[in-house]
C-alpha cells in the first residue's frame, strides 16, 4: 500500500518539479525578438541637429534617412536616450567603431528613444560628440516597429535589409566588430564581391 502511495505522489510531484526546474532556466525578463531573419521595418526619420556637427558626411541635420535607401550597406541602429545610464557605457565603443568602419559600407545611426532633442544634444556634447547621426522618432513609432522595450538596444541590419542580430543592453567594440564582420563575411560570400 505504501509503495503505491509514494508512486502516486511521485507521479504528481515529479512533473511539477521538472516544470518548475525548467522555469528556472528561463529568464522572465528576456523577451525573445522575432525580428532577426526578417526584413527590417522601414523608417523615414529626420536627422537630429548635433552640437559638434558630426554625422558621417551625408545625414546632415534636417535630412530624412530612409532605411530602404541604405540597401547594400550594413546598418547598425542604436536606440538610446540621455537618461539611459548604460548608454553612457557603450557610447565610446559605438563612436569609435563607427569611425573605424567609415567608408567601408557600414553605416551607424542612433535613434533617440523617449527623450527631447535638447537633452540629447547636451548629452552628446557632454560625451564629447557622436561620430554618426542620431534620428528623431516622435511617438516611438519606429521603436515599436523594431519591438524595442528599453534602451540601449542595437540592431544589425545586413545589406539585403534583413535584421541579422539584435543586441539588448550596452554593446562593446568586440560585440560590434564581431557582428559587423560576420555580416560582411556572409554577404561577401553571397554576392562574390570583386
Amino acid at each position: 500500500m505504501n509503495w503505491r502511495r509514494s508512486l502516486g505522489a511521485a507521479v504528481v510531484v515529479v512533473p511539477i518539479v521538472v516544470l518548475l526546474g525548467y522555469g528556472l532556466t528561463r529568464d522572465p525578463r528576456a523577451i525573445p525578438s522575432p525580428l532577426p531573419g526578417r526584413p527590417a521595418p522601414e523608417f523615414a526619420l529626420a536627422v537630429m541637429e548635433d552640437p559638434v556637427g558630426s554625422g558621417q558626411g551625408r545625414g546632415a541635420a534636417g535630412d530624412t534617412i530612409r532605411l530602404s535607401e541604405l540597401r547594400g550597406n550594413v546598418v547598425v541602429i542604436n536606440f538610446w536616450a540621455s537618461w539611459c545610464l548604460a548608454c553612457r557605457d557603450e557610447h565610446a565603443a559605438l563612436s569609435a567603431t563607427a569611425r573605424a568602419y567609415e567608408g567601408r559600407g557600414v553605416r551607424f545611426f542612433g535613434i533617440l528613444y523617449k527623450d527631447s532633442p535638447e537633452q540629447a544634444r547636451a548629452w552628446i556634447d557632454e560625451m564629447g560628440g557622436q561620430s554618426y547621426p542620431t534620428l528623431l522618432d516622435p511617438g516611438s513609432r519606429t521603436a515599436i516597429d523594431f519591438g524595442v522595450y528599453g534602451v540601449p538596444e542595437t540592431f544589425f541590419i545586413g545589406p539585403d535589409g534583413r535584421v541579422e542580430y539584435k543586441h539588448v543592453g550596452p554593446v562593446n567594440e568586440r560585440i560590434l566588430v564581431d557582428r559587423i564582420e560576420a555580416i560582411l563575411a556572409a554577404s561577401g560570400s553571397r554576392e562574390e564581391t570583386p
Binding site: 522575432p34 523617449k114 511617438g139 516611438s140 513609432r141 521603436a143 515599436i144 522595450y149 528599453g150
Partner: protein, 149 residues
C-alpha cells in the same frame, strides 16, 4: 465524473473568443472601446504583468496610440494584435495562445480537475464501502495538538 469533464470542456468552448467582424468605419466611441479592448490584451513591455491599457508608462501610451491608429485605419483587432506579436513575439499577448507548449497551461487545470475528481470518487466509494466496518477515527483519542496557552 465524465459529465463534469464535459461541462468543463463546454465552458471552455463557450469562453473562447468568437470571430471578430466589424469592418465598417468606426466612430469615435466605438474606436475608444475597441482600443481599450485590444490594449487590455497587450502586455506592457516595461511593466510587470500589466496591460498597456492599465499602464501609465510612456511606451504603453505610445503603443496604445498605435493600436488606435491601426484600428482607425480599418484593421481588425486580430490584425493589430498580430502586428504587435510580429514585433515583440507572442510574449506581448497577456493571454497566451493555445498551441504548442502553451497547451499545458490550458490542459493542466483540466487534468488536475479530472484527476482530483477521480481521486475523490475512488476515495468516497472506498469509504462508503467500508462504512459498515466502522472505520471512523477513534473517539476520545488523545489529541496531538497542544491545547495552547
Amino acid at each position: 465524473m465524465t459529465r463534469a469533464a464535459l461541462l468543463v470542456l463546454l465552458a471552455l468552448g463557450l469562453a473562447a473568443p468568437g470571430p471578430v467582424g466589424a469592418q465598417a468605419p468606426r466612430d469615435e466611441a466605438e474606436l475608444d472601446a475597441l482600443t481599450r479592448k485590444v490594449a487590455s490584451q497587450l502586455r506592457c513591455p516595461v511593466c510587470q504583468g500589466e496591460s498597456i491599457q492599465d499602464s501609465p508608462s510612456e511606451l504603453a501610451q505610445d503603443m496604445k496610440a498605435v493600436v488606435r491608429e491601426q484600428l482607425a485605419a480599418g484593421r481588425t483587432p486580430e490584425e493589430v494584435k498580430a502586428y504587435f506579436v510580429s514585433k515583440y513575439g507572442e510574449w506581448i499577448l497577456l493571454e497566451p495562445e493555445a498551441h504548442g507548449f502553451n497547451l499545458a497551461l490550458y490542459l493542466l487545470p483540466i487534468v488536475a480537475f479530472v484527476g482530483g475528481a477521480a481521486t475523490i470518487a475512488v476515495a468516497v466509494r472506498r469509504w462508503t464501502r467500508r462504512g459498515s466496518l466502522a472505520e471512523s477515527p477513534v473517539p476520545g483519542a488523545p489529541s496531538d495538538t497542544d491545547p495552547g496557552t
